[in-house]
């Protein structure tokens, strides 16, 4: 069981991962799974509160079992491979579209960056969007300077990413927010 491996061996295993395996951004702290056994500061009576570092981790090496309370078992909703396929293609298509968009719209400080499976869209002084996959939940997470954080689930019925609370569609949300912020309407291809 991966969780039994000593801490150091874990780290070196992760570091030995092939170069094509991307390291997650700090937000994806699957590594916290093996930080759990670490005791908090010993001089204080046992506290659940221990601030753990979100460490970059290779997602494929760690056990996928959810260790705590989770209202929905997302694994039954979408398989991981299916999720990665859908999410990756959405994010990559978005990336291309946004790069084209950057050429049309003249905005100081416009930048599209994709690294460690995180898509970052900078709109200069207007704000920054961050989009990433949240694999355990099978969600795409978006952080928007206008609408704040949202979490999109794949909806089979409409074949789109939808935020359950507001029923917002990921692409439509981006479309309307970008128009609001930058003025020019971004055109999505129909198959996106």
């Amino acid at each position: 069981m991966a969780s039994r491996l000593p801490f150091l061996r874990r780290i070196s295993k992760l570091l030995k991962a092939p170069p094509s395996t991307p390291l997650r951004s700090l937000r994806h702290s699957l590594a916290l799974g093996f930080l759990l056994p670490q005791p908090p500061t010993p001089d204080v009576s046992p506290r659940f509160f221990f601030s753990s570092r979100s460490i970059c981790s290779g997602p494929l090496n760690l056990p996928q079992d959810s260790q705590g309370p989770a209202p929905i078992d997302y694994r039954s909703v979408l398989s991981e491979d299916e999720f990665h396929g859908l999410a990756n293609s959405t994010i990559h298509d978005l990336q291309e579209k946004l790069e084209e968009y950057g050429d049309i719209v003249e905005l100081d400080g416009f930048d599209v960056d994709y690294g460690n499976e995180v898509l970052t869209l900078k709109l200069g002084a207007l704000g920054t969007y961050v989009m990433n996959k949240q694999t355990p939940n099978r969600q795409i997470w978006l952080s928007s300077p206008l609408s704040g954080p949202s979490r999109f689930d794949w909806d089979h019925n409409v074949q789109a990413w939808v935020y359950r609370r507001t029923k917002a569609n990921l692409l439509k949300l981006l479309e309307s927010e970008l128009e609001q912020l930058c003025g020019d309407r971004i055109k999505w291809p129909e198959q996106l």
Partner: protein, 165 residues
């Protein structure tokens, strides 16, 4: 080389401002976050079986954040007289839940439902990637209130079923 990187990673597992990640982006914590991290307010736990205590447990370890936020309700006035939290997660998550416990004290349950994640995020100057932490804190407040209300309804012997969404 492996050992060097490993020790550098291990070195970050201490209560200091984290050194730069392997990615290029510099990340700086706002002083409010550092303050809540170093001097967390209201860390602790109430008895969850106490009928005047509402417990909100949100998040999942696999995602990186788990927050437990508890509120103690005054029986007569229905106001929140005390709150505590325990959070497993990044500095921003800890700070967000710490702020949440500060803000709910002394307010009525209806009032705290109006606390928005945007306010928490603004107070802590959270960067875009950490806005989700503030949302989780808002969710924790809502979950705690929901639990407290369900308990009060049960206590009052009301036949109205607790609305569990």
């Amino acid at each position: 080389m492996l050992r060097l990187v490993a020790s550098r990673l291990l070195g970050t597992a201490s209560r200091e401002v984290p050194s730069r990640p392997l990615q290029i982006l510099p990340r700086l914590y706002h002083e409010n976050v550092i303050d809540h991290y170093n001097n967390p307010r209201n860390v602790g736990s109430f008895d969850k079986n106490d009928p005047n205590v509402g417990t909100g447990l949100v998040g999942a370890p696999a995602c990186g954040d788990v927050m437990k936020l508890q509120i103690k309700i005054d029986e007569e006035s229905g106001k929140i007289v005390d709150a505590c939290f325990k959070t497993f997660g990044c500095g921003s998550a800890i700070a967000s839940s710490s702020v949440a416990t500060e803000w709910v004290k002394g307010k009525s349950m209806d009032e705290v439902l109006t606390i928005k994640n945007t306010e928490i995020a603004k107070h802590l100057s959270l960067p875009p990637v950490k806005l989700h932490c503030s949302m989780l804190a808002e969710d924790a407040i809502k979950a705690a209130v929901k639990d407290a209300e369900a308990k009060r309804a049960k206590m009052n012997g009301s036949s109205k079923a607790a609305d569990v969404n």
